[in-house]
Point group: C2
Chain length 186, copies 2
């Protein structure tokens, strides 16, 4: 019997930098390679600290039980609202992959965090010393999932280009909802 | 050279009946059979008269030029905001298909319109005497596109079940955005 593999892909809505208030993240539950089964939305605070719990809450609904891997577009949402990949893995027991096109410049991030946040050390700690690898032009963090399995899942969910479908679709939806017409690439 | 076929699928967000104000419609630009290329959102007035122009405006952006067929979940959005399929076809030159699971009961619709709207005759006129056919358990209106071509396009965009992907995806997105977690079937 064929087993279906499902991923939850997460991206945030674009917003004007240095604004306050809320923005939102979109989750797409996708069956490999690109069959959309569910869409989730959670509001998060711009530059806040609630992204982690909101992502965990996406896994608590009816879709969560079927999700085999969480894929996210980077580890920061709504500015510097940093997702705690280890806590997400610990609380959901599902491996977490963060995928971006370019290796982040941690020194630059550290400088920005120091400038804007009194709790910069806590935020930075969530972004440092995460396991990582490069694959097919992507920079990937993997928590609770081995590098080989992570590569295999990225491949399984990629249809065109480099970005896996759950993230690509979440990006298109978040941007389309916000602007009225989607733009840009995840 | 292989030519890609793209559809714009449209569904509305659910809302509480007998409320006033705005709701929204979601458009999904999908390359056959189910590759999501773009998402659009337009606000419409509940029980208003602006669905037609908002759907036409979706075709005026960067995605419209590539769309070969417009597929919509019924002809009413946000209550009895009736889309004028003929006007959409005339202004966009793209064929319009409306797909529902059950043949609508026009007598029942007429009674509801008479009860609530002074312009009931105009609204009813947009829903009556449209070309239609049944196909694979679906009731379909087709304007600006022949029955055989409409069937072939529905088939081309169907992956599982009966509902073509552009409509199914628009439904999941609209419902997920509104409720925080998608529910129900288009």
């Amino acid at each position: 019997m064929k087993r279906y593999v499902r991923a939850l892909g997460i991206d945030d809505a674009p917003f004007k930098p240095h604004t306050k208030g809320e923005t939102f993240i979109i989750g797409c539950v996708v069956r490999a390679p690109n069959y959309l089964e569910g869409v989730l939305r959670r509001n998060i605070e711009i530059d806040g600290r609630d992204a982690t719990e909101k992502i965990i809450s996406m896994m608590e609904g009816r879709f969560g039980v079927q999700v085999r891997v969480i894929m996210m577009n980077g580890v920061t949402f709504g500015g510097f609202n940093v997702a705690d990949l280890k806590r997400i893995y610990e609380e959901t027991s599902v491996g977490v992959i963060s995928v971006v096109r370019k290796r982040p410049d941690i020194a630059e991030i550290e400088a920005a965090l120091k400038k804007h946040f009194s709790d910069w050390e806590e935020r930075l700690a969530l972004m440092k010393n995460l396991p990582s690898f490069e694959y097919n032009g992507l920079f990937v963090h993997n928590v609770g999932i081995g590098e080989e399995e992570a590569k295999s899942l990225i491949k399984k969910f990629t249809v065109r280009g480099k970005m896996p479908e759950p993230i690509r679709m979440a990006h298109i939806i978040a941007s389309g909802i916000l602007y009225g017409e989607s733009r840009g690439k995840a």
